[in-house]
């Protein structure tokens, strides 16, 4: 066989092996919910009905009830006592029974103060319901179709509200804590409203599930008014694939993912700019605290979030396009106004590390403040946007964060499972951060954020207010007074390489395997443990060795080159220092790049007489580095599709190889080749491997 053919054969074997490894990797995650489509938008936000309730739910212990209403204001107390008498005669003892009795649209169910454990819903499924044929999600429970939920409503739900139109469920207590629906960690959902357009929830508490308390799926028109949800594995409020929704005056805490999650809200504004006819979901007056994130909006499209408080979570609010399977991706058109987002510095990752989150949900201690973070995210951040477009963040108070007020990164589409080439860079664009009050609370007291902005550099049309303090990158496009005005706009396809490396490392989190990636400062790595510092150190060592070798072998006599090398070493040292967490948002990285650029420029000039091609390469590298310094410190360079750091990286790799070869090459001395006693080149074939015995 000729050598070419042998080469191709070997190549195909190796590549086939690689392909086999790829193909045997676990496939895309199974879908966790039945396929849903977004509503057509023909509904409307339901209005509160104040008449007499049609159905009543209460417990029969009169003495206990009187104790519960004893402290109520007089009118409310009288009403409740009257309702209780009516309920004792002809009402229901469990909410599910009342829901089952709803036979026409527009009914109202009143729940009287008490504790509702919904005992008839609790027993394990039996008979047909124990043998449902349905695919299993990767989380261990089955994915049931709507018909299966109808026939077996309590496989996964404490209270199932299926196909009831315009239903209103309200508690009649003085505060939302008077009516408590407690799943005791025995069901995935406390209340599930599926196919129930126009549902109105008011004035109660739902708590302690292994997934979420209040689940509204595919509803066109819903209101959540004065409801508390707490202590769930994932979400407090989950309103998925819904439109015409309103959350007001709600509270949620103790959840392992987010308190409020309008995931896959109806994507009605796709194609609009900043001005939109309406929003799909409005969230106002809510407080979400002590969760992993207060608000999460994966594909949270067209959501208007205003006048809420998101505090004491790991992250205040997060919206992203990073997870496959959410209709409506990429995320777009969220509007955050006048929210108080502050002090989101909790760190719940130690609960994962010490095994608390490996226990069953009932034993984790959610009531004592344990939260088990389900995904990877940077603690100490105000608003995280990981892949989103056309979002408006205006006039919020964001203060007291130990990492950053704003976090913006892009997510290539293949992460969410879309492989079309044109879509890969469809985030993050046109996000506007203007007019926010950073580092001060409403009273004007100073609570600074450690940095204001962390941006990976990708996207076009993003802009920030000009009074942002410490930011990384140091120079940002600025917002004009009108929406859509951006000064210094850039349009880069990929973010900075070091930031991308960090995001990649940090994303390798897995709560089930208790895997907290060691190189990521989100999980506590500091100093040399962080991947950015390791990369900077490695790169600096390589460059220093190559530069010193070049100087020693080729430029030793040249004083300019000597000075330049010293400057270069200083620049590399500062680069390593500037990669640490404390010094990244300062001017130090830019200074380091400046010194390194000067080094290369001078070395290039020094090499011009002896090695012109290498000299030009070095000069180019120096120019690119100086440009990168300018880009980081003064003004982001518009018009280039990639950050100068990429050019610097690629050119740097080439330069290092070239410099080492240039310093190593020596003309062979003719005497060496024919030295006496030098072994010949002929291979010997007749001596066995052992040599002479």
């Amino acid at each position: 066989m000729s050598w070419t053919r042998r080469l191709v054969l070997a190549l195909s074997v190796v590549l086939a092996a690689l392909a086999a490894a790829l193909l045997t990797a676990p496939g895309a995650q199974a879908h966790e919910e039945r396929p849903v489509t977004l509503p057509d938008g023909s509904g409307s936000v339901p209005k509160l009905r104040t008449g007499e309730p049609d159905l009543l739910v209460c417990k029969t212990d009169r003495a206990d009830f009187e104790r519960r209403v004893a402290g109520f204001p007089a009118a409310l107390k009288t009403r409740n006592l009257a309702l209780h008498e009516r309920c004792a005669r002809g009402g229901y003892r469990h909410l599910q029974q009342a829901v089952d009795a709803v036979d026409r649209p527009g009914m109202t169910i009143a729940i009287l103060p008490g504790l509702y454990e919904e005992e008839p819903s609790l027993p394990q499924p039996t008979g047909e319901c124990a043998r449902l044929k349905a695919p299993k999600s990767s989380l261990g429970y089955q994915i049931l179709s709507y018909e299966q939920q109808l026939s077996c409503p309590h496989n996964q739900n404490l209270v199932a509200i299926l196909g009831k139109k315009n239903l209103q469920i309200e508690g009649t207590g003085a505060s939302r804590l008077d009516v408590v629906i407690d799943a005791k960690y025995q069901k995935l959902n406390a209340l599930r409203a599926d196919g129930s357009d126009g549902i109105y929830f008011r004035n109660f508490t739902a708590q302690r599930t292994t997934f979420n308390s209040l689940y509204v799926l595919a509803a066109d028109g819903f209101v959540i008014d004065d409801v508390l949800t707490r202590w769930n594995d994932e979400y407090g409020f989950l309103t998925f694939a819904s439109d015409h929704g309103l959350y007001k005056n709600c509270e949620s805490y103790g959840n392992g993912d987010s308190g409020i999650y309008p995931g896959s809200a109806s994507n009605i504004n796709d194609g609009y700019g900043y001005d939109v006819p309406r929003y799909a979901i409005e969230i106002t007056g809510c407080r979400s605290h002590h969760n992993m994130v207060g608000y999460s909006g994966t594909a949270g499209d067209s959501v208007w979030v205003h006048d809420n408080e998101l505090d004491h979570n790991m992250g205040g609010a997060s919206m992203d396009s990073a997870f496959p399977g959410h209709p409506g991706l990429p995320q777009n058109h969220a509007r955050f106004e006048r929210n108080l987002i502050h002090d989101n510095n909790q760190n719940y990752y130690p609960h994962v590390a010490d095994g608390t989150c490996a226990k069953p949900p009932v034993d984790r201690g959610y009531e004592q403040g344990v939260v088990c973070p389900q995904i990877s995210m940077p603690p100490g951040t105000g608003i995280i946007t990981a892949g989103g477009n056309w979002n408006l963040y205006e006039d919020n108070w964001i203060y007291g964060h130990q990492r950053a007020a704003f976090f913006l990164s892009a997510v290539p589409a293949f992460i969410r499972g879309e492989s079309a080439w044109g879509k890969q860079t469809d985030t993050s664009h046109h996000n506007r951060y203007a007019g926010n009050h950073l580092g001060v609370d409403k009273a004007g007291n100073a609570h600074p954020n450690r940095t204001e902005v962390w941006w990976d550099g990708q996207g076009s049309g993003n802009c920030w207010q000009s009074d942002a303090g410490a930011t990384t990158p140091g120079a940002l496009p600025g917002c004009g007074t009108r929406r859509g005005d951006v000064s210094g706009n850039t349009d880069r396809l990929i973010g900075e390489p070091v930031k991308l490396a960090q995001l990649l490392v940090c994303a390798d989190y897995n709560v089930q395997a208790r895997r907290l990636p060691a190189g990521c400062d989100w999980y506590g790595a500091r100093g040399l443990q962080r991947v950015e510092t390791q990369l900077a150190l490695g790169g600096a060592l390589l460059l220093a060795l190559a530069g010193c070798a070049l100087w020693w072998r080729r430029l030793r006599g040249n004083r300019l080159a000597g000075v330049a090398t010293l400057i270069g070493l200083a620049g590399l040292a500062l680069d390593v220092a500037g990669s640490t967490l404390a010094l990244t948002p300062t001017a130090l990285p830019a200074l380091a790049l400046l010194l390194t650029g000067v080094w290369w420029t001078l070395i290039g000039l020094a090499l011009r007489p002896t090695r012109p091609v290498l000299a030009w390469a070095t000069l180019t590298l120096g120019a690119v580095t100086l440009l990168d310094a300018f880009d980081k410190a003064v003004l982001m360079v518009p018009g280039i599709p990639l950050s100068p750091a990429w050019f610097r990286l690629l050119l740097g790799v080439v330069w290092v190889l070239w410099a080492v070869i240039a310093s190593g090459a020596r003309p062979p001395r003719p005497s060496d080749q024919s030295a006496p006693g030098h072994p010949t080149d002929q291979p010997t074939v007749d001596r066995p491997a052992g040599g002479t015995a």
Binding site: W3, A10, L11, Q534, P668, P688, G690
Partner: protein, 438 residues
């Protein structure tokens, strides 16, 4: 630790009748997976060194192979070459073999009470590594089969075809590693006796046809020991004197027999498969495969060897493309893979040797269910040792390859010609480190 009650021991003796072999035949403990920090540090060091070597090392060949070395004092040489010494070593080997066979025939079928499996898999297979590194190709001197053959040497031994080289030994090594890593129930006396019988038969029949040079071509342990001895400081110069020399020189003088590449690829591939066999995903594949665990594991072992060979083949092809005059790219550089194979061996087998080796000896002395000593280094120390072994192997390989390439390539292409080799070695090293993480 309490000794096993007898019925439990009996159950253990029938262990793995349907399932997967224990680690390396014997041994109850695997090494911890490496933390990525050590791995990245090791990989980075390897890359850095290769890269620097490319430019900064010598530009004309320095190693003198067979001609180098400080001769040992003459009395030592006389003792080493004396027929009495040789006979004594031969007797020692034969006695050890006899003991081994007796333990197999008469001893209990329980690896916890019979030192024979440990003697084979640990004392012989792993023990040959330090022995050969220190003392040269020792198995040639100890091989009991040579002693048996010498009882009745053939009168007209047939010559071996030149192109055969050490390929039979490569096949033998593959079969042995199959026995060690894949064969079900490989610590039972029946299996070991069968293997021993097959090995003895092949060697003795071949030696009866071709004379005692058959052993040097076809006995896997002799070839293994001889290849490892290329890195020993103790060697024999071209004129027959025993010398102390730099391992680079002895490595440089590795004769380029056909089959050298195959043997090295078998060593690399089988050690790589050993690293893979701990991986939970692989074990699940084995247990759920429709072909059965043994067949799947065999396929895995063959695939690992084939992958190592294919990578090397690619590299050799690329070398030839850059330099048309290079007629034997495969064998010219095969010697530079030996240090990498040695690094792999040390990384995977060190802790087995220091825990199971003493245990086997204690069992041979008569204690049943002997306690294996804890490894002398803590997890961090072991991890450092493993990475250091692989990286050192890589460094030695790089230096050896560099020297050979500046000898073979014209000066203006010396650097460019090394790039495919360096890529190959980096692939092997990163692969080796990656297997340690898994």
């Amino acid at each position: 630790m309490t000794a096993f009650p007898l019925p439990v021991a009996a159950a253990h003796a029938h262990a793995e009748s349907l399932g997967l072999p224990l680690a390396h035949g014997v041994g109850s403990r695997h090494d911890l997976p490496l933390s990525p920090f050590y791995a990245y540090a090791g990989a980075f060091t390897a890359l850095l060194v290769s890269f620097l070597a490319l430019g900064l090392l010598w530009s004309s060949s320095r190693f003198r192979g067979d001609l180098a070395g400080h001769p040992l004092p003459a009395p030592l040489q006389r003792v080493a070459d004396a027929p009495a010494t040789r006979a004594a070593l031969r007797l020692l080997g034969a006695a050890a073999a006899l003991l081994f066979v007796l333990h197999l025939l008469l001893g209990p079928d329980d690896p916890d009470r019979n030192p024979a499996p440990g003697a084979l898999y640990v004392l012989l297979w792993v023990g040959l590594v330090p022995a050969s590194l220190l003392l040269g190709p020792v198995w040639r001197l100890l091989n009991p089969l040579r002693a048996v053959h010498a009882l009745r040497p053939p009168r007209h031994p047939r010559p071996l075809p030149a192109a055969l080289g050490i390929r039979p030994a490569a096949v033998g090594l593959l079969l042995f590693t199959w026995l060690e890593l894949v064969a079900p129930d490989n610590a039972s006396t029946t299996t070991l006796l069968t293997a021993l019988a097959v090995h003895t038969a092949v060697q003795l029949v071949g030696a009866a046809r071709h004379g005692d040079r058959w052993f040097a071509h076809a006995d896997p342990f002799e070839v293994y020991s001889s290849l490892l001895a290329r890195l020993s400081p103790l060697g024999r110069r071209a004129d027959g004197r025993l010398v102390l020399r730099s391992p680079f020189d002895s490595l440089d003088s590795t004769p380029q027999t056909p089959g050298l590449v195959a043997t090295v690829c078998v060593l690399l591939g089988s050690t790589a498969y050993d690293g893979l066999s701990d991986n939970p995903r692989w074990i699940t594949t084995l247990q759920t495969s429709p072909l059965g665990p043994t067949a799947t594991a065999t396929l895995g072992l063959l695939a690992a060897v084939a992958l190592a060979a294919a990578c090397y083949g690619l590299c050799a092809g690329a070398l030839r493309l850059t330099n048309r005059e290079l007629t034997t790219p495969l064998t010219s550089f095969a010697h530079s893979l030996l240090p990498i194979a040695l690094g792999y061996l040390v990384a995977h087998y060190f802790s087995l040797f220091v825990t199971e080796g003493p245990r086997t000896v204690i069992m041979a002395a008569g204690t049943d269910n002997a306690l294996a000593p804890a490894p002398p280094l803590g997890p961090g120390g072991l991890a450092t040792l493993q990475v250091a072994a692989i990286v050192t192997g890589h460094v030695l390989g790089v230096v050896a390859a560099h020297d050979r390439s500046v000898r073979l390539f014209p000066p203006d292409r010396a650097v460019a010609g090394q790039l495919p080799l360096f890529a190959l070695m980096i692939a092997y090293t990163l692969g080796g480190i990656g297997l340690l993480i898994a």
